[in-house]
């Protein structure tokens, strides 16, 4: 058993090393010419615009749910005016970036991993290599950068929709005063600490998802099972990595 654990630890360490190397290759490709703006824009569209409905809808529902749950608790203490602060802080500091990252990993990350893995299976990446075109530069880097770009934008949108959902339920359904809802939110949310912190979290999650999705696709076996393993691996590893990363960001930097 100990031997098995040791072997598994070595495999994990080896993968971590390879991911670090892969990340470095992506950065080098992105910094060097050509800049592949058209491919990046196309990938931003695929990952971002097509994720809009799911992110907006989830935002409204999560904001509304928070209001409902928060109100039932706060009203017992006669503190329902603090509902704005509760919804605002939870959505901006924590739920916005984390839930968006999880949604984008499931929606766009898995799609990117599946696309790259299919390109491995159908020899498209080998085809690029034979044309002296580096697949990391041509295919992988634009997709990884696209996820990094869209994550903070989608998280921002998620937060806006969640606040709208929270406000709508609190004011329209539960009869909380709109002015005090907004005032309590404004009083408790700090721009530098909460908003910028949330933004940095989203960027970190974007980089993480982009790296994991592209790496899983790139190293996949050239078979149908390989494509499926890449997709599942991206969602599972990506989601867990986001949650672990969130814990450390909260713990060390208070973000």
């Amino acid at each position: 058993m100990i031997e098995n654990m040791g072997y598994r630890s070595l495999v994990v360490l080896e993968h971590l090393g390879k991911i670090a190397q892969f990340a470095l290759r992506i950065v080098v490709c992105l910094l060097g010419r050509p800049y592949r703006i058209r491919r990046i824009v196309a990938d931003v569209y695929d990952a971002g615009v097509l994720s809009l409905p799911v992110v907006c809808l989830s935002g409204v529902v999560v904001g509304g749910t928070l209001s409902l749950l928060g109100y039932t608790t706060l009203v017992r203490f006669g503190a329902e005016e603090a509902l704005g602060a509760l919804v605002g802080l939870s959505v901006i500091r924590e739920l916005g970036p984390v839930l968006t990252a999880l949604l984008v990993t499931g929606r766009a990350g898995s799609a990117i991993a599946a696309e790259i893995a299919t390109m491995v299976t159908t020899e498209q990446l080998d085809g690029l290599r034979m044309m002296s075109v580096d697949p990391v530069d041509f295919v992988v880097s634009p997709k990884a950068l696209a996820l990094l770009i869209v994550m903070p934008l989608l998280a921002g949108l998620f937060i806006v929709f969640a606040l709208m959902g929270g406000y709508g339920v609190a004011v329209g359904l539960l009869g909380v005063d709109g002015g005090s809802f907004m005032a309590s939110m404004e009083g408790s949310v700090k721009f530098w600490n909460d908003v910028i912190g949330s933004f940095s979290k989203a960027i970190t999650f974007g980089a993480l998802t982009g790296l994991i999705a592209t790496y899983r696709g790139y190293i996949s076996e050239p078979t149908a099972a390989g494509v499926s393993a890449a997709t599942t691996g991206t969602v599972v590893v990506g989601s867990v990595a986001i949650l672990i990363c969130d814990f450390f960001l909260n713990g060390f930097w208070g973000v």
Partner: protein, 276 residues
């Protein structure tokens, strides 16, 4: 069989060995491919034909031995160094390997856009010229998924030759195609070899096409290669070659009802041909 004297090998394998897990793919394989000729690599499934081609392109590295391409030993080359070698090589993959997010014209234009400073107008006319050459003049705007198997392979051929390579590697160009498309692709490949003086290496188990095209045959058997001019090899008494030819001529005769008696005469086992 000893290697006959050849004028000049553009590509040469020397003592190449490769294992995949416990399975031996190449076991000290040595053979050469002459400049400007059509070499056809024959062998059963799993004999290592595609691996051989991938090794020439540097997509697969041997465990030991050396692979020389255009006077350079590419065995220890880095990816960057391989790019320089690949500039001289075109490769047609079995499935075409066209990028499915791009149209046919964009696929063919890709090497030009990546490696030349040609104006957009010149790129377009060059792409048109190549598509006309492979008989796909009106398909530039289509996506690979909208093409049939034969069309897809011809589009991939247009992309493989757009940079005027010196060496063209073609992996199983005839598999899964109807006889008309087989003839069409065969004619295209032979034309390319004649007009552009390409060193052409084709893997196949399509016996009829191979015999029509080949200046040189390379049989892959038991991890080694037996190479030579077709006439010599077809007369060979090497039982591994005879075995392969008989198996192929069986299926060829069944499907085409042609007279392959010259091959059948040399069989050592009882007649297994169903239609005889």
């Amino acid at each position: 069989m000893s290697e006959p004297e050849e004028p000049e090998f553009r590509i040469a394998f020397d003592g190449v060995s490769l294992k995949r897990g416990e399975r031996v793919i190449f076991d000290g394989l040595s053979c050469g491919f002459p400049r400007g000729r059509v070499s056809v690599v024959l062998g059963g499934s799993g004999a290592g034909k595609s691996t051989l081609i991938r090794m020439i392109g540097g997509l697969q590295r041997p465990d030991s031995g050396s692979v020389r391409v255009a006077e350079q030993d590419i065995t220890g080359f880095s990816e960057r160094e391989l790019f320089k070698v690949r500039d001289r090589i075109g490769m047609l993959f079995q499935g075409g390997a066209l990028l499915d997010s791009m149209t046919v014209a964009e696929n063919v234009a890709l090497p030009l856009r990546e490696h030349t400073r040609l104006a957009e107008m010149d790129i377009e006319s060059e792409v048109d010229r190549r598509l006309v050459a492979v008989g796909l003049s009106d398909t530039g705007h289509l996506y690979p998924r909208e093409l049939s198997g034969g069309m897809s392979r011809r589009a991939a051929l247009a992309r493989a030759i757009v940079m005027d390579p010196e060496i063209l590697l073609v992996d199983e160009p005839f598999s899964g195609l109807d006889p008309i498309n087989v003839r069409r692709i065969e004619a295209l490949l032979v034309d390319l070899n004649r007009h552009l003086d390409l060193t052409l290496i084709v893997t196949s188990h399509h016996m009829a096409s191979s015999l029509r095209m080949a200046d040189r045959l390379v049989f892959m058997v038991d991890g080694i290669a037996i190479a030579g001019p077709p006439d010599d090899l077809l007369k060979s008494a090497d039982e591994r070659i005879v075995e392969f030819l008989i198996a192929e001529s069986d299926s060829f005769a069944e499907h085409h009802e042609l007279d392959v008696t010259p091959l059948m005469d040399r069989r050592t086992t009882p007649d297994r041909r169903k239609n005889s």
